[in-house]
């Protein structure tokens, strides 16, 4: 079985097709940025993108990925290593406490901003609701999503203007 992850095609050998995507990423591919929290779709620590949609990889058998493209937190930075808008906002606003939930939060925010570049407060609350933060950093997450949205929009305007 093969898997498209962060722009690369990775071979998985003869893996149990029922294996959750989470454990394939972590144990087989060494992409440990995606975290295990509950294993039953209740915390969002394992959130990754499958064709741009946020999914909970702990409850997503690897076989259902098929040809879709998987993006993990390791795949967000630019090819030159620069942080993307969401990552940068998380750094600048000092969102994390323990940081364990934050990869999942970042992926959920990334999915939101790809679908809705200009989210309102309710959109943010709705999109981020599945992601628990045990340390309670929700206030800063909210802010960081807004900052990231603004950065993305101004980058988009700049590139429109350049064309």
């Amino acid at each position: 079985m093969d898997l498209k992850v962060n722009g690369e095609l990775r071979s998985l050998g003869d893996i149990d097709p029922q294996t959750p995507l989470l454990w394939v990423l972590r144990d087989e591919l060494g992409l440990v940025g995606t975290k295990f929290g509950c294993g039953i779709s209740q915390c969002g620590a394992c959130t990754v993108l499958v064709d741009g949609q946020a999914v909970k990889s702990c409850s997503y058998p690897v076989s259902t990925v098929g040809n879709a493209a998987v993006t993990t937190v390791e795949g967000l930075a630019g090819s030159d290593g620069s942080l993307n808008a969401v990552q940068q906002a998380w750094v600048d606003l000092d969102v994390a406490q323990c940081g364990y939930c934050q990869a999942g939060q970042i992926m959920a925010a990334e999915a939101l901003l790809r679908a809705k570049p200009n989210p309102g407060d309710d959109d943010i609350d709705q999109a981020m609701a599945p992601n628990l933060c045990r340390c309670g950093t929700y206030i800063r997450i909210r802010e960081a999503v807004k900052v990231a949205a603004a950065t993305r929009r101004s980058a988009a305007e700049a590139s429109d203007a350049a064309e």
């Binding site: 440990v32 000092d94 364990y100 990869a103 045990r134 340390c135 800063r140 909210r142």
Partner: protein
């Protein structure tokens, strides 16, 4: 049910004297670390004795590399840069950033020039290394400042020598020594080799900066691991991988103390991906190694699948039979009788007999779990009689000791790498997962990563104990509180001492503040493990006493804020390590002012105020809520804190906001219940933590004060629940006396 040994985890309730009243949270952690050591020796060692918590200092020790300035364990400067070592575990409280900031301030290094590295575990060099009791800042403040000042003095001396000038004629700034008169400067990195040859000054002789000279402390500094975190780099315990590593899970009896009678090991070993399965006997200490079945597999999924297929016959003759419903019934019975007294001042009975108004209430709070988002795990490699551990623990040195004991080697043959912890809250003060990993690795013969599932984490936590308080109080004709009785029913593991975090201390509010106070404490037998949970003791006592104070204010027909301030009274220090009533009143007034206490509120809205002193922090909170059909909307929480000067404003504010969210989450819907010794909640679907849509606005205000700085990981949590419950009462007239409030039918909007 007496077979369980809690020696190393139960040793946490100190004999608290009046003098140490209100400081018992810190003492609890101290005692935990002391274990069976002589307490006085430990205090001497760590400098925990005396008026402050900040005397710890490690003497300089010579280091080998002469090209590097390394006057102590915290600093290494050479031609390539400035390293500062972070000594304590990072569990989300921000110490990997804040402790090095303290060094950098006195070193006069520009923060951008500093690289922070997690230190090794070496208590001879660093003093006690742990994360707990909100003590990282107060215990290390002085030592870290002096370590920075030491290096600075040596750099200054080296520059003076090179330039042939008096040290007093030159200065430092932003990682440079500056000779202003001649307009020349040298970078620390250029001077490192020469500075290393300078004599190490006596750290105590150095002059430290005054607060108005701080350039770094008090600023907003972002976490040193932020970039690595957002890139998903392997910072956490759970992220560790070793060549040839296998994945392990460990199944223990669902009722603590049960032993393995038999298990379908052959069937398990035949499962795909499974390498081995075996029984471990346990070492009789519930804080180290409980009996169970270990499974070793090629990956986590195979291990978890095998664990699901595992069938164990448990011998439960010595296992826990704990029952919450039984305990509750017992408490209902006991609340009508009196118990052993912890506090008895004045004449409570006379105060009740003569009181103009009385109030009574029976308060209950459930057990809760730590629920760190990163489930417990540890990677271990046992090779040639030596053990190497990669452990997300709050007490790495204890982890080394316990693991060494469990595998039967000397602690000197154990290396432990401290890793970022995905939350702590007190859970990782205990090293049961470290011991399990060590024992499994020894038997497996290959490096293993032990992974607890969430179900394991919920079932084998060391819980925040539940408890019950029958409260009675009296107010006189003037509406002044004259009598207070707190009949507390708690739990005990050993038949005499209350469980950790479940012992009330003689300084509990309002002892010393109200004339006639009686506090009684009775303990029900309990087998399951209980332990420190963020602001142990205070997180529940705060709810009870600050809610009941509000009840008495209403019984007197008076304003709650006015009564709270009246009870705090004249500014004075309560015992050596107790609260200062002036600082207390200061934060109460500040929170009230910022929240607009007394202003006209919209229909259905109410405001509540609460104060609590814990971990040397004075914190007041005012909540504004509205209630509609038992649906509570928390609009805003205003926090005022006096914890001395702030080290890192960004981190400090984050801790305050997080404590409010954690407090609200826990009081709203979290409880762990036991029946037949088993925890009833197995995963987050039955342990619904607060999510973003219910998060209120939180306004944080710090009092600028010159007191020595104290920790912030815990003290902002205790006032939250009573502030919100008092606001609920103000909004709808319903007095909440049970946590979580879901037990009374309330939920968050």
């Amino acid at each position: 049910m007496t077979a369980l040994n809690y020696a190393d985890i139960g040793d946490v309730v100190p004999t608290v004297t009046g003098e140490h009243a209100m400081a018992s949270d810190a003492n609890a952690t101290t005692d935990l670390l002391v274990g069976r050591l002589d307490r006085r020796q430990f205090l001497k060692l760590t400098g925990l004795v005396g008026g402050g918590l900040m005397l710890s200092f490690t003497m300089p020790r010579a280091f080998g590399n002469s090209a590097a300035l390394q006057p102590n364990g915290y600093i290494k400067i050479d031609a390539t840069g400035i390293l500062i070592y972070a000594k304590n575990p990072e569990i989300g409280q921000g110490v990997k950033t804040s402790l090095p900031m303290i060094v950098a301030e006195e070193l006069d290094a520009a923060w951008e020039d500093v690289e922070v590295v997690q230190s090794t575990i070496d208590q001879s060099l660093y003093g006690v290394q742990f994360a707990g009791g909100s003590m990282s800042i107060p215990m290390n403040w002085d030592a870290l400042r002096r370590s920075g000042a030491t290096a600075r003095a040596m750099l200054l001396g080296a520059a003076a020598k090179r330039w042939g000038v008096e040290p007093s004629s030159i200065s430092t700034r932003d990682s440079h020594v500056i000779h202003a008169a001649r307009g020349r400067k040298l970078a620390y990195t250029e001077l490192a080799a020469e500075a290393a040859a300078m004599p190490v000054p006596n750290p105590q002789s150095l002059t430290l900066k005054k607060r108005d000279q701080f350039r770094l402390l008090g600023k907003r500094i972002t976490g040193v691991d932020n970039e690595a975190l957002v890139r998903g780099e392997p910072l956490f315990g759970i992220d560790q991988t070793l060549p040839g590593m296998k994945y392990a899970v460990y199944q223990k009896c669902p009722a603590i103390g049960g032993k393995v009678a038999s298990a379908n090991l052959d069937a398990i070993k035949a499962m795909p991906g499974v390498r081995d399965a075996f029984v471990l006997e346990g070492n009789g200490n519930a804080g180290e190694l409980l009996p169970g079945v270990a499974i070793i597999a090629d990956n986590t999924y195979s291990a978890i699948q095998a664990k699901r297929a595992l069938k164990v016959e448990w011998d439960e003759s010595d296992a826990s039979k704990d029952s919450w419903s039984h305990a509750k019934a017992e408490a209902e019975r006991l609340r009508h009788g009196s118990g052993p007294q912890v506090v008895n001042t004045g004449d409570v009975d006379a105060a009740f007999a003569s009181g103009a108004n009385r109030a009574s209430g029976f308060y209950t709070y459930h057990f809760v779990s730590h629920a760190t988002l990163e489930p417990q795990n540890c990677t271990a490699w046992f090779k040639d009689g030596k053990l190497e551990l990669w452990a997300p623990t709050q007490t790495p040195a204890q982890g080394i000791g316990s693991a060494a004991k469990v595998v039967g080697i000397s602690p000197s043959n154990v290396t432990l790498h401290q890793l970022r912890c995905g939350g702590g809250f007190g859970r990782r003060l205990y090293n049961d997962f470290t011991c399990e990993a060590a024992a499994i690795a020894k038997r497996a013969g290959v490096p293993i990563k032990l992974q607890w599932t969430r179900e394991d984490d919920m079932a084998y936590d060391l819980y925040r104990a539940g408890g019950f308080h029958q409260m009675d109080g009296a107010v006189d004709d003037d509406g002044k509180i004259t009598g207070w009785r707190d009949r507390f029913i708690t739990f005990t593991n050993d038949g005499s001492r209350p469980v950790s975090g479940g012992g009330i201390h003689p300084g509990v509010f309002p002892a010393g503040l109200v004339d006639n106070v009686r506090v009684e404490q009775t303990a029900l037998p309990w087998s399951n493990r209980c332990a420190a949970w963020r602001a142990p003791g205070s997180n529940v006592f705060g709810f009870v006493v600050q809610s009941f104070l509000d009840e008495l204010a209403h019984a007197a027909g008076r304003d709650s804020l006015e009564v709270l301030l009246e009870v705090l009274g004249e500014p004075r220090q309560m015992g050596r390590r107790g609260m200062h009533t002036g600082r207390a009143a200061g934060v109460v007034k500040l929170a009230a002012k910022e929240a607009g206490w007394g202003r006209e509120l919209s229909d259905g809205h109410g405001m509540g105020v609460a104060f609590y002193y814990s971990h040397a922090g004075h914190i007041a909170e005012v909540a504004e809520v509205s209630v509609n059909q038992k649906q509570v909307n928390v609009h805003k929480v205003t926090v005022a804190a006096d914890v001395g000067p702030i080290v890192n404003l960004s981190g400090a504010e984050n801790q305050m906001q997080g404590s409010v969210v954690d407090g609200l989450s826990t009081m709203t819907g979290l409880s762990v219940t036991f029946e037949n010794g088993r925890v009833q909640q197995s995963n987050f679907d039955r342990y619904p933590m607060l999510k973003m849509p219910s998060t209120p606005e939180v306004a944080v205000h710090f009092v600028d004060s010159d007191y020595p700085p104290t920790g912030l990981g815990e003290p902002a949590l205790p006032p939250l629940a009573p502030a919100v419950c008092n606001a609920i009462f103000a909004a709808c007239g319903h007095r909440i006396r049970t946590l979580p409030i879901s037990e009374e039918g309330f939920s968050l909007a």
